[in-house]
Structure formats: structure tokens, C-alpha cells
């Protein structure tokens, strides 16, 4: 996918220095040198200057050359393509009736490179066996999505798992086909707003487990609480520095009552601590 997203000069400049498996992020800023992240550190390639055409090409490819299909996503500042490559987009907003309608003159892209890391859930074996409500917590970029993807793969071997993938990066679907490995009992609801999916698919698909990425805001927290009260197990992730931040943020506090396990990540795919809501610090 990156060979299509990136122009030849950028692609060659990056991959002369690192393999695709090692790179977690690429930063393209018009008129500035290319920047990439490897093993959690950022590196700048001074002699590789990103042009506006490079950015235009990446956006065109990521949108499938179909802005009309991707405009809602562009207006929310991102695009997802291939096997879960996510492009954060920064540019000039265009307003329509007072609402952000689209972005123009895009000046910066943050390309997140997805990685399937089998075995990253080894430390969660007991949690997966119990299949109890679990919240994965970490700051951005430390592998929450990767871990949830692996949870989905393992859990859907013998349980009905419904993946609510609002951004299309957790279990990417292309032309009606799931592009990453899942179990035989996995259903994927892609590009559907979480709240809509909670309200409809929980009834219609009757899942045993729901897996969803990046819980955000009061309504989503409330929906998760409601679902878990219905007897459906929830695996979710949350942007936070640690469990202390969940305690201190009033809108996330209800999650403490319904979640059994809290998994805190400290580095890419590395579990720092697992807290058991019943026992405290397992």
C-alpha cells in the first residue's frame, strides 16, 4: 500500500533506511523534510523534501480517487485505506452552513502504518479465557488497535464477536472482504457511527462480545455501560495516560463500574499492568 500512497522518491528515501515492519508512522508536511517513526523514535530525512503533489497523491490514493465517497471522513480529519493505514489530515477547513464540510489545501499528513502482531495478547490469556469486559488504555500510538485486533482474532474462534469499527482501521474491509485474519465467528460493522451501531446491531446481530476502538465522549461511555448491562461483553480501548486518568475524568468514571479488566500499555504492544476491577492489580 505504501508504494502506492507515496511517490517514488519518498518511498525510496524511507525504505532505504528502514523496513515497512519497523516503521510505525510517517509525517508528510509540505515543504518540509520527511519524518518517520521507528521503534517509538522520530527520524528526519533532511534531503527528502515533501511537496504538495506528494500530499495530493497520498490523499487521492487513500480516498480511492473518490473524494465524494470519503468526504465525511476527510471532514473528520482522517482517511483509512488498505489494511488499516490511517492518514491523519491537516489543512484548511471549508465550512458549509457553519459546519466543517471538507478540507482543502492539505498541508500535513500523519500516516499510521498498521501492524498485525500475533502473540501481543499473550499476557492477556486469562482475560481472553474469561472474556470479561476489558478496557485497554494507553496514549496514542502504543498499539491499542493492534491489541484489539488480536483479541478479535482469538475471541472469534469460538464466540460471536461483533467488531464495531467506526474508522475502518480495526478490522479493515475492502470490497466486502475482511483484509486481516479473523476467527470464523467474527462480524464487522465498518464505517458506522458507534452510537448507531450500538442501538441497532446489538439487537440484530446478537453478539456475545463487542470489540470497539477509541471510546470517546459521554454518549459512547453511556452506550458501553448500557450494552454491558444487557449481558454482552465489551472489549474497548481508550486514549489515556493510565488508569489514574480514567478515575480523574468524570465522563469516563462510569466505565470503572462496568469494566472488569483494565490493561495499560507502556510501549508498542507491551503491557505495563493489568488491573482487575474486582481484585485490583492482577
Amino acid at each position: 500500500m505504501l508504494d502506492k500512497l507515496l511517490s517514488e522518491s519518498i518511498y525510496n528515501a524511507v525504505f532505504a533506511l528502514a523496513g515497512e515492519d519497523e516503521i510505525s508512522e510517517l509525517r508528510l508536511r509540505a515543504g518540509k523534510p520527511l519524518c518517520y517513526a521507528k521503534n517509538g523514535r522520530y527520524f528526519i530525512i533532511e534531503d527528502c523534501i515533501v511537496t504538495a503533489e506528494d500530499i495530493e497523491r497520498a490523499v487521492a490514493v487513500a480516498s480511492g480517487h473518490s473524494v465524494y465517497a470519503a468526504n465525511d471522513s476527510i471532514a473528520r480529519g482522517y482517511l483509512v485505506c488498505g489494511k488499516g493505514y490511517r492518514l491523519g489530515i491537516c489543512g484548511e477547513g471549508v465550512l458549509k452552513d457553519g459546519k466543517l464540510f471538507t478540507l482543502k489545501n492539505i498541508t500535513s499528513l500523519c500516516i499510521r502504518v498498521p501492524h498485525e502482531v500475533k502473540g501481543c495478547c499473550d499476557k492477556l490469556r486469562d482475560i481472553l479465557k474469561n472474556a470479561a469486559n476489558t478496557l485497554i488504555i494507553s496514549p496514542p500510538g502504543l498499539g491499542k488497535t493492534t491489541m484489539l485486533r488480536e483479541c478479535a482474532r482469538i475471541l472469534s474462534r469460538d464466540k460471536n464477536v461483533l467488531v464495531l469499527d467506526e474508522r475502518g482501521e480495526l478490522i479493515p474491509v475492502e470490497d466486502g472482504q475482511v483484509t486481516v485474519e479473523t476467527g470464523d465467528m467474527c462480524d464487522v460493522a465498518c464505517n458506522i457511527p458507534k452510537i448507531t451501531a450500538y442501538e441497532t446491531l446489538v439487537r440484530t446481530m446478537r453478539p456475545d462480545i463487542i470489540i470497539t476502538d477509541e471510546v470517546f465522549g459521554e454518549r459512547e461511555v453511556q452506550a458501553i455501560c448500557d450494552i454491558s448491562r444487557c449481558g454482552v461483553t465489551v472489549f474497548a480501548s481508550l486514549h489515556a495516560g493510565g488508569i489514574g486518568e480514567v478515575y480523574s475524568a468524570a465522563i469516563y468514571r462510569p466505565l470503572l463500574n462496568v469494566m472488569r479488566y483494565f490493561v495499560v500499555l507502556e510501549d508498542i504492544g507491551r503491557v505495563a499492568a493489568v488491573y482487575d476491577g474486582r481484585e485490583n492489580n492482577a
Partner: protein, 166 residues
């Protein structure tokens, strides 16, 4: 005997030339028929499902043949490769069956595809479809008149040449 063979060869040559000219006009007409059909198809597909351009184009091309379908195939490959420079679009329509003034117009339409929101895209497609009506009827008429005439003329000239040679 030799005269008869020569007459036969002349007949075949003239007839073949007539068939060739007719095929040329038919292909020009077909290009615009398929182009108009493609624009209609896109309007439906984008209007309701917002299907991405490559999938939509591939679906339209399924089980179809012709010059325009070949162009659409190249167009899809170009998009898949991510090579969307303006000159690539101009090169797409460098076909002997498309007149130079039409090449720029078609290239402009294709270059603009997929670059705007759904409402604007549909409006642009409607305009392009309306603009395709004039060349479509022109080339259809050309095929029915000049193309058919060339074919008949070829056959008649072939017969005349055969008689003269015999």
C-alpha cells in the same frame, strides 16, 4: 484464369477497405455510446452507494468489449498505481478513433472525476452526460451515412474492378 484470380483479389481489397472504413466509424460511435453509458452508470452508482471510482469503473467494464472499455481499463490501472499526473490523462485518449478536439474534452472530464463531494460530482456528471449527446448523435449519423456508404462503395467498386479485370 489469371484475370479471374486478379478480379477476386481486387474485389476482396475494395470490400475489405469498405468494411474497414465502416468499422472505423462504428468504433467512433461505440466509444461515445459506451462513454455515455459509463456516465449514466456512475451517476447511479455514486448517487446512491457512493461506490469508489475504481470499483464502479471495473463493474461497468465487466463483460464489455470495445475501445472505450480498453481506455477504462488503462484508467483503472493508472489510478491503482497512483499515477494521476495531468499528462497521463491526456495520454489515455490518444486513440485514432477519437478526434483531437474531443481528446482534451474527455481528458478534462476524467481528470475531474473523484475530486469533489458527491453533490458536485453528480452535477458534473450530468453536465458531461449532456455534453456527450452532441458527439454521440454526430458519430451515430456519420456511421449510418459515411460508414454504410463506404462499405457499399467498397463492395460496388470491388465488383466493378472484378468485371473490368475479367
Amino acid at each position: 484464369m489469371l484475370e479471374l484470380v486478379l478480379g477476386g483479389i481486387l474485389f476482396a481489397c475494395f470490400s475489405y477497405a469498405g468494411i474497414g472504413i465502416r468499422a472505423y466509424y462504428r468504433k467512433r460511435k461505440e466509444i461515445y455510446e459506451q462513454y455515455a453509458g459509463y456516465l449514466d452508470y456512475l451517476q447511479e452508482d455514486i448517487g446512491f452507494l457512493k461506490t469508489p471510482l475504481i470499483s464502479s469503473t471495473k463493474e461497468y467494464c465487466r463483460d464489455k468489449k470495445g475501445e472505450f472499455i480498453k481506455i477504462l481499463g488503462k484508467y483503472c490501472s493508472m489510478l491503482e498505481e497512483g499515477d494521476i499526473r495531468r499528462e497521463m490523462f491526456d495520454g489515455l485518449f490518444a486513440s485514432p478513433y477519437i478526434e483531437k478536439k474531443q481528446r482534451a474534452r474527455l481528458s478534462g472530464v476524467f481528470y475531474g472525476l473523484g475530486k469533489v463531494d458527491a453533490d458536485t460530482q453528480l452535477e458534473n456528471l450530468r453536465k458531461a452526460r449532456a455534453a456527450a449527446d452532441a458527439p454521440l448523435s454526430y458519430y451515430t449519423k456519420k456511421y449510418e451515412t459515411t460508414g454504410t456508404l463506404a462499405f457499399k462503395l467498397g463492395v460496388v467498386l470491388g465488383i466493378a474492378a472484378m468485371i473490368l479485370a475479367a
